[in-house]
C-alpha cells in the first residue's frame, strides 16, 4: 500500500533541514497527512501550498469529506466541484454495498464461540473449511474481508480496517499473496489510530516476515521493503516508550537495515543519531559504530544532529559541537518525529559534551565549561555539583581558581595487572567445576590432575 511521491513547495530557511520531502515518498498517503498537518502547524511553508499538497493527496484516497473540507479552506467560498460530490456519492454507495456483503461474515466472526475457535486454531485452511461448513461462510471470505478492509482504510475508517484485517489474518496462510499487504495495512491502521502497543506488535511481525521472506524476486525488492519498513517504523519507534532502544537495535546493529539506510535513505541517520543520543544505557558502545557510519555517509547526508556527533567524537572540536547543538534545537523543533524529545535531547547532548570533555582533560575552568555547555557560570557549577553528588563524575571543584579538577584516571601498571588477572582464578575455577560436573556425569573424575595445574 505504500504511497507515492508528493510534491513539496519552496524551501525557506527553517525548511533547509526539513525531511518531509525525503520521507514522504516512502510512506503511505494516509501516513503523510499527519506530517503535512504538522507542517502547516509550524508554518514553515506557505500555508496554501501545504493545503494544496494535502488536497492532492486526499484526492487520490477515498476520504472525500476531508478533501472537501480542505477544498473549502483553500478556495474560500467557491463551490465544491461536481465530480467530488459524485465521487463521494459513489463511495458511500460502495461502502454500503460492501458492508451489506460482509455483514453475515462479521456476524459469524463476532460470535464469541467462533472467536474462541479462531484464537485456538493453527491451520488457516482447516479453520476456513470448518467455518464454511458450520456457519455457511462463503469460500471467498478472506478475499472479501481483505477488500473491504482496504476500502475502509482508504476511506479513513481505520478502526474497521484493522478489525477486518485481524480476522483476515487468521483465515489465510502466510503464503497468501495479500498477506504482506495485510500486515502493512494493519500497521498503518494502528499507527493512525495511535495504538502504539498494537503497532509495535505489528511492526515486529512485519519485520520477521520481511526478514524471513526468501521469496522476494530480487535483493532490490527486499531493499525496497526494508526502506518502507524503516520509514514506517519511525512513527512507532518515536512514540512507543521502548521504541528508541529498538530503533538503535534494528537500524544500527542489523546489517541489512543499516545497508538499506546507507544505500537508499541516509537521512534516516538523523533519527538513528537522535535515538543513540537519547539512549542512556549503552551509549558508549553504540557510539563507535554510529560515528563510523556518520563519517562514511557524511558526503551523502549531513544535518546539525549528525554533525554534532561528528564534531564531538571524530574531531573533538567542542566549539563546533556547541554551535551545532544550537542548530539542533531548530531542527528538532521542526521535525515531526522528534519535536517531543527536545528537552531530553538537549540535556543528553550536553552531558555527552561534558563527559567527553572530562575524559580528555584533567583540569577545566568552570567559566569555559559554562560557555561550552551554553549555561551561566553559576548554573554550570550547580550542574557539575549535582553530577558529582550523583557520583556520575569523579572530580572536585577548586572554587578559588574556578576549576574543576578531575580525579586521577591513569591506570598504573600495578592496577592494570590486577585488572587483568582478577578474573582469571574465578574463570578457571568455573571451568574446573564445569569439567568435573561433566566428568562425574560421564566418565568419572579423569580431569582432576589437569585441573590442579592452576
Amino acid at each position: 500500500m505504500p504511497g507515492e511521491v508528493n510534491e513539496e513547495g519552496m524551501s525557506l530557511l527553517p525548511s533547509k533541514y526539513d525531511l518531509t520531502n525525503a520521507i514522504s515518498p516512502n510512506l503511505d498517503r494516509h501516513l503523510i497527512i499527519p506530517l503535512l498537518e504538522f507542517l502547516s502547524h509550524k508554518q514553515i511553508y506557505n500555508e496554501d501550498e501545504v493545503l494544496q499538497a494535502k488536497l492532492d493527496l486526499l484526492n487520490s484516497t477515498n476520504m472525500m469529506d476531508f478533501a472537501m473540507e480542505i477544498f473549502t479552506t483553500l478556495n474560500g467560498e467557491e463551490r465544491i466541484p461536481e465530480e467530488m460530490q459524485i465521487k463521494r456519492e459513489d463511495l458511500l454507495r460502495k461502502l454500503r454495498d460492501l458492508q451489506e456483503e460482509s455483514e453475515p461474515i462479521l456476524r459469524v466472526l463476532g460470535d464469541p464461540e467462533v472467536a474462541r475457535q479462531i484464537q485456538n486454531s493453527r491451520d488457516p485452511f482447516l479453520l476456513l473449511e470448518d467455518l464454511t461448513e458450520k456457519h455457511g461462510l462463503p469460500r471467498d471470505t478472506p478475499a472479501m474481508l481483505y477488500n473491504f478492509a482496504k476500502f475502509q482504510y482508504e476511506c479513513g475508517l481505520y478502526q474497521g480496517s484493522s478489525e477486518y484485517l485481524y480476522y483476515y489474518r487468521f483465515l489465510v496462510s502466510p503464503e497468501d499473496k495479500n498477506y504482506l499487504s495485510s500486515i502493512w495495512g494493519k500497521l498503518a491502521s494502528e499507527i493512525l489510530m495511535q495504538n502504539w502497543d498494537a503497532a509495535l506488535e505489528e511492526l515486529i511481525r512485519l519485520k520477521e516476515y520481511i526478514d524471513n521472506l526468501s521469496t522476494f524476486q530480487s535483493p532490490l525488492n527486499a531493499l525496497q521493503e526494508r526502506t518502507w519498513f524503516i520509514h514506517w517504523s519511525l512513527f512507532v519507534y518515536f512514540n512507543h516508550p521502548k521504541g528508541r532502544d529498538l530503533l538503535v537495535e534494528t537500524f544500527l546493529h542489523q546489517p541489512q537495515y543499516l545497508n538499506a539506510i546507507q544505500t537508499t535513505c541516509p537521512h534516516i541517520l538523523r533519527y538513528l543519531t537522535t535515538a543513540v543520543i537519547m539512549n542512556k544505557s549503552n551509549r558508549r558502545t553504540v557510539l563507535k559504530d554510529l560515528v563510523r557510519v556518520i563519517q562514511q555517509e557524511s558526503y551523502a547526508y549531513k544535518d546539525p544532529i549528525t554533525e554534532f556527533i561528528e564534531h564531538l567524537y571524530a574531531n573533538f572540536d567542542f566549539d563546533a559541537a556547541q554551535k551545532k547543538l544550537r542548530e539542533c534545537r531548530e531542527v528538532i523543533l521542526h521535525d515531526f518525529f522528534l519535536v517531543a524529545l527536545l528537552d531530553d535531547f538537549i540535556e543528553n547532548a550536553r552531558l555527552m559534551i561534558f563527559e567527553t570533555f572530562c575524559r580528555i582533560h584533567e583540569c577545566i575552568s568552570i567559566k569555559m565549561l559554562a560557555e561550552k555547555l551554553n549555561m551561566s557560570i553559576s548554573d554550570a557549577e550547580k550542574w557539575i555539583v549535582n553530577l558529582i553528588r550523583a557520583a556520575r563524575l569523579d572530580a572536585k571543584i577548586d572554587s578559588r581558581l574556578g576549576h574543576v579538577v578531575m580525579g586521577a584516571q591513569a591506570l598504573s601498571p600495578y592496577q592494570q595487572m590486577i585488572e587483568k588477572t582478577k578474573s582469571l582464578a574465578l574463570r578457571s575455577q568455573k571451568l574446573v567445576s564445569d569439567i568435573e560436573r561433566k566428568a562425574t556425569g560421564g566418565r568419572g573424575g579423569e580431569s582432576q590432575p589437569w585441573a590442579q595445574e592452576f
Partner: protein, 830 residues
C-alpha cells in the same frame, strides 16, 4: 637422438643458439642412456652420426665465437649470446670425452661415402651438411612425419626470429644449401602443411628481398641464385591462376555476382588459396558490383566477405595485421556501417540462414553480424598497437587511428540501438564503447559543479544499461569495473568506493577470467590513487597493498612480463600472457603507483612504529615499506637521495625524528615533482599531502618524546608543526580518547600533561605474562565448547601458550587481511 641432432642442425642454420643449446643438452643424456646399447652392438664404438654432430657443433660454435664480440652484440639477442657462452663451455667439457673418437672421425671424414645409409656419394665436405640432413631425415621416415606436425606450432614461433636472423646470415653461409634442405623438408610434409608453408614463405620472401637489398655484403649473384631457387619451389605448388572476373560481354546481374562471390569465398581455407589475391579479387568484385548498381544488398554482402578475407589474412592469432590491410579494413567497415545505416531495409542477422538470404530486392536479408566485425576490428587494433614499439613515432601515428575506431564503434552502437535488437547486443556494443572511454580523463568532468555533459555521464548511462539488461555476469562485472575506474580517475572517491563495495566484486573476482581480473587490479590501483588524492590514506594503502606487496605489480597489471620467472612457464603460457598485456597508452605509471603506496605506508607505519616501540608483539603493516627501510639502513654510507624510493625512505627517517619540514622537502621537491607528483593530472595532491605529513609527524613526535617530557604546551606544538591550535587540540584529544597517549589536557594552561605510566621492564613482562594467561584461560574455555561431549584432551600444557597468543594477536587485529590475501591469491591464479 637422431631427431635431436636434426633439430639442432636446423637451429644452427638459423643461428638460434638458445635452441641449439637446448638440443645439445637433450642430446648428452640421451647418449649416455644409449651407451650400454652401443657398447653391446657396436663394440663400444661411438656411432658416427653422433660424432659427426659433435664435430659440426664444435665448428659452428667456434665459428660464431671467432666472429668477434661486435658481431655477437649486433646480430644476436641477449639470450642467444648468453646461450652461446654456455654452449661453448658445455661443449668443451663434452668433447674431452670423445676427443679420440672425434679425431678419428675427422680423419675419416673423407670416407663418408661408405656409410650404408648414404644414398648419394659426395665427398665434398662442404656439402656434407646437406647429405647428412637427407640421411637423418630419410632413415626414420615414419618418425619424422608426426614430429613435423608437432613442429607446426613451434614453427610459427620461430618464424619471426628466423627472419630476423636470416638477414644477418653472413655471406659465408651457403644460401643454396639452406634452400635445398627446405625443399627436402617440404616434400616430407603433408599436403596441407606444404601449402601453408608456401604461403608463409611467399610472405617472407618479399620481406627478405627487401632486406637483402639493403645488405651491402650480399653478393648479387647469390641473390639471383636465391631467387631462382625460390622460383623453383613456387612452381611445385598448384597456384590458383588469377581468373578473369567476367567475360567482357557477359551480363552482370545479382546472380552472377553472387555466383562469383561464392566461387571466391569457397576457396577460402582450401589449399593453394592466395589470400592476397582473394582480397584483391573481392575488391574488384565489389567495384564491379558498385559500377553496375546491383543494389545495397549485394555490396553489403561482398563487403562482409571482404572484411572476413582481410581478417583471415594473418593466420596466427598473436600476430598483428599489416598497416595497409588495417587501413583497408577501416575503410571497408566504415563504408559497411554507413551503408547499413542508410538503408533501413537491410536486415543483417546471424539467425538468417544462407538459404534465406535475399539480395536482389528490398527487404534485404543478409547473414552476418556487424557487431562481431567491429569487435574483431577493435581487438585487431589493440594487437597492432601492442606489436609496435611504444616509444616510437609509429605508435603515435597508429594511436591516432583510435578516433576512427571510436567513430566506428559509435556508429555501430547507434545502428544497433536503432535496430532495437536484443539488449544483449546493445550491451556488447556499449562495452566496446566503455572500453575506449574508461581510461581517459575528461578534463571537463574534473570540475564537479560542471553542468555540461561529460564522459562521466556517458559512462554512467552505459553502465546502468548494462547492469540492468545484461544476463552474462562477465559484461556486468566489466561494466562496473570500467565505471569504478572512470569515477576514481575523476576524483569521485565516494561514488567509486560505494560502487566497489556494493558490487561485491571483491568476493567474486577470483572466479572471473584473467582479463577481467587484470581489469580489477587496474581498477583497484586507480581507486587507491583516488583515495590518496582525496586524503584517505588508509584506504589508499589498503587498496594498493594487494597489488604492491608481492613486488609483482607489473605482472598483475599486465604491463610487462617478469623475466625472472620465465623458466616456470611454458611457451603457450607466455604467449597467452603476452596477449593479455595492456597496450602502452592505457598503462598505469608504475613508479607513481609505487610512490603513492610507499608514501601511504609511511604515513601509517611511522607513527605506528613510534607508538609501539616497546611492544613485544608489534606487527608490520607494510612489508615492502619495511623492506625499503631496511635496505637503506644496511648501507654503510647514505648519500643524498636519488631515486623515488630513496626519497621516500629519507622522508620517513625525517618523520621519525619529528622533523616535518625535512620530511616535506624530501617528498616534495623538483625531482619528485617531475618524477611523480606532476603525473597527477587530476589536481594537485601536494597540499593534502603536506597537511598529512604535519599531522602524522606530530603524532610521531608525541609518541616518541612523551617519555622525555612531563608536559607539552599546545601552543608550542602548534608552532612547531604549523598547525592550527584547534587541529592540534583535536589530534591530541583523539589520541587520548583512543588511549594511544597516556595524557590529559590541562585546560587553564593549555597544555598536555603526561601521565607517567610507562611500565618498568619487570612490569611490562608481567603484563605480557598476564596477557598470555588470559588467552590460555580463554583457550581452555573454548576447548569444551569445541569438543562438545567429547573427551577433554589432557595435554593442554603450558608449552603451547606463547604460540597461541601470537596466533590470536595476528587474527584479531586485521580482520580484513585474510580476505584480501585470498583475493590476491585468486588474482594470481591464472
Amino acid at each position: 637422438m637422431q631427431e635431436t641432432i636434426r633439430q639442432m642442425r636446423n637451429h644452427k642454420k638459423i643461428k638460434d643458439v638458445t635452441n641449439v643449446l637446448k638440443s645439445f643438452e637433450e642430446l648428452m643424456p640421451a647418449y649416455n642412456k644409449a651407451l650400454p646399447v652401443i657398447q653391446k652392438e657396436d663394440n663400444g664404438v661411438t656411432p658416427r652420426f653422433f660424432l659427426r654432430a659433435l664435430a659440426e657443433l664444435e665448428d659452428f660454435v667456434n665459428e660464431l665465437w671467432e666472429l668477434g664480440n661486435e658481431y655477437r652484440k649486433n646480430s644476436m639477442s641477449k639470450n642467444n649470446a648468453k646461450s652461446l657462452a654456455t654452449l661453448r663451455q658445455k661443449l668443451k667439457k663434452a668433447l674431452k670425452e670423445f676427443e679420440v673418437d672425434l679425431q678419428k672421425f675427422r680423419d675419416t671424414a673423407d670416407l663418408e661415402d661408405e656409410e650404408p645409409e648414404q644414398t648419394k656419394a659426395e665427398t665434398e665436405s662442404e656439402s656434407e651438411d646437406e647429405e647428412i640432413e637427407v640421411a637423418a631425415v630419410k632413415e626414420p621416415k615414419a618418425k619424422v612425419k608426426p614430429a613435423k606436425l608437432e613442429d607446426e606450432d613451434s614453427e610459427s614461433d620461430y618464424w619471426p626470429s628466423e627472419s630476423d636472423s636470416e638477414d644477418s646470415i653472413s655471406s659465408e653461409e651457403d644460401e643454396t644449401k639452406y634452400i635445398n634442405i627446405r625443399e627436402k623438408f617440404l616434400k616430407k610434409n603433408t599436403q596441407e602443411e606444404e601449402e601453408r608453408k608456401k604461403r608463409e614463405k611467399k610472405e617472407k620472401k618479399d620481406k627478405e628481398k627487401e632486406k637483402k637489398r639493403l645488405k651491402q655484403q650480399e653478393e648479387a649473384h647469390e641473390e639471383l641464385e636465391g631467387q631462382g631457387d625460390w622460383e623453383v619451389v613456387r612452381g611445385g605448388v598448384p597456384m590458383p591462376i588469377k581468373p578473369k572476373m567476367f567475360d567482357k560481354n557477359a551480363e552482370i546481374t545479382v546472380e552472377s555476382v553472387l555466383k562469383k562471390l561464392n566461387e571466391i569465398v569457397s576457396a577460402r581455407g582450401k589449399k593453394g588459396t592466395n589470400k592476397a589475391e582473394m582480397v584483391d579479387m573481392l575488391q574488384e568484385l565489389l567495384e564491379i558490383a558498385e559500377a553496375n548498381n546491383l543494389g545495397p544488398g549485394v555490396s553489403v554482402k561482398v563487403r562482409l566477405s571482404l572484411v572476413a578475407a582481410i581478417f583471415d589474412y594473418s593466420t596466427k592469432v598473436s600476430d598483428a595485421m599489416k598497416v595497409e590491410h588495417w587501413d583497408k579494413l577501416l575503410v571497408t567497415v566504415d563504408q559497411l556501417i554507413k551503408m547499413l545505416d542508410k538503408h533501413d531495409d537491410i536486415t543483417l542477422n546471424e539467425q538468417i540462414t544462407e538459404e534465406n538470404e535475399q539480395f536482389g530486392s528490398s527487404p534485404y536479408k543478409i547473414r552476418g553480424c556487424i557487431l562481431t566485425v567491429v569487435e574483431r576490428l577493435d581487438a585487431e587494433f589493440i594487437k597492432i598497437l601492442k606489436d609496435l614499439d611504444c616509444h616510437s613515432n609509429e605508435y603515435v601515428i597508429r594511436l591516432s587511428d583510435e578516433n576512427r575506431v571510436i567513430k566506428l564503434i559509435d556508429e555501430v552502437t547507434s545502428y544497433v540501438e536503432k535496430q532495437h535488437e536484443k539488449s544483449a547486443d546493445i550491451c556488447r556494443a556499449y562495452i566496446l564503447k566503455m572500453d575506449h572511454i574508461y581510461y581517459k580523463i575528461d578534463m571537463k568532468a574534473l570540475d564537479e559543479t560542471t553542468k555540461e555533459p561529460t564522459s562521466l555521464n556517458t559512462m554512467d548511462r552505459l553502465c546502468k544499461f548494462i547492469c540492468g539488461k545484461d544476463n552474462t555476469d562477465r559484461l556486468r562485472q566489466r561494466a562496473v569495473l570500467y565505471q569504478i575506474y572512470h569515477l576514481s580517475l575523476h576524483n569521485r572517491w565516494f561514488a567509486a568506493r560505494n560502487l566497489m563495495l556494493m558490487s561485491h566484486l571483491q568476493e567474486t573476482i577470483q572466479h572471473s577470467d584473467p582479463p577481467t581480473q587484470i581489469l580489477y587490479n587496474r581498477t583497484m590501483v586507480q581507486l587507491g590513487m583516488c583515495a590518496f588524492r582525496y586524503g584517505s590514506i588508509k584506504d589508499a594503502h589498503n587498496a594498493l597493498l594487494d597489488i604492491q606487496s608481492g613486488g609483482r605489480a607489473k605482472e598483475l597489471l599486465a604491463q610487462g612480463l617478469l623475466m625472472t620467472r620465465q623458466m616456470d612457464r611454458t611457451q603457450e603460457q607466455e604467449k597467452l600472457e603476452k596477449q593479455r598485456q595492456v597496450p602502452f597508452h592505457m598503462q598505469i605509471n608504475l613508479e607513481l603507483l609505487e610512490c603513492v603506496y610507499l608514501v601511504s605506508a609511511m604515513l601509517i607505519e611511522i607513527p605506528y612504529m613510534a607508538a609501539h616501540e616497546s611492544d613485544a608483539r608489534r606487527r608490520m603493516i607494510s612489508k615492502s615499506f619495511h623492506h625499503q627501510l631496511k635496505m637503506s639502513e644496511r648501507q654503510a654510507v647514505i648519500g643524498p637521495p636519488e631515486s623515488m624510493r630513496e626519497h621516500v625512505v629519507a622522508a620517513a627517517k625525517a618523520m621519525r625524528n619529528g622533523n616535518w619540514e625535512a620530511c616535506r622537502n624530501y617528498l616534495i621537491n623538483d625531482k619528485m615533482n617531475t618524477k611523480v607528483w606532476s603525473l597527477f593530472k587530476q589536481g594537485d595532491v601536494r597540499p593534502t599531502l603536506v597537511r598529512k605529513i604535519q599531522e602524522e609527524t606530530m603524532r610521531t613526535y608525541l609518541f616518541t618524546f612523551s617519555k622525555v617530557y612531563d608536559s607539552f604546551s599546545v601552543q608550542r606544538l602548534s608552532q612547531m608543526f604549523q598547525l592550527e591550535l584547534r587541529d592540534v587540540h583535536s589530534i591530541v584529544s583523539k589520541m587520548i580518547i583512543r588511549e594511544e597517549l597516556m595524557a590529559s589536557l590541562d585546560e587553564p594552561t593549555q597544555s598536555v600533561v603526561m601521565h607517567r605510566t610507562e611500565p618498568s621492564r619487570l612490569q611490562s613482562y608481567s603484563l605480557q605474562l598476564a596477557d598470555r594467561l588470559l588467552s590460555l584461560v580463554e583457550n581452555n574455555e573454548r576447548i569444551p565448547e569445541i569438543k562438545q561431549g567429547g573427551r577433554i584432551p589432557m595435554q593442554q600444557g603450558y608449552r603451547d601458550r606463547p604460540y597461541q597468543r601470537r596466533e590470536d594477536g595476528k587474527g584479531g587485529a586485521w580482520p580484513g587481511r585474510g580476505d584480501r590475501e585470498r583475493t590476491r591469491r585468486g588474482v594470481y591464479a591464472e
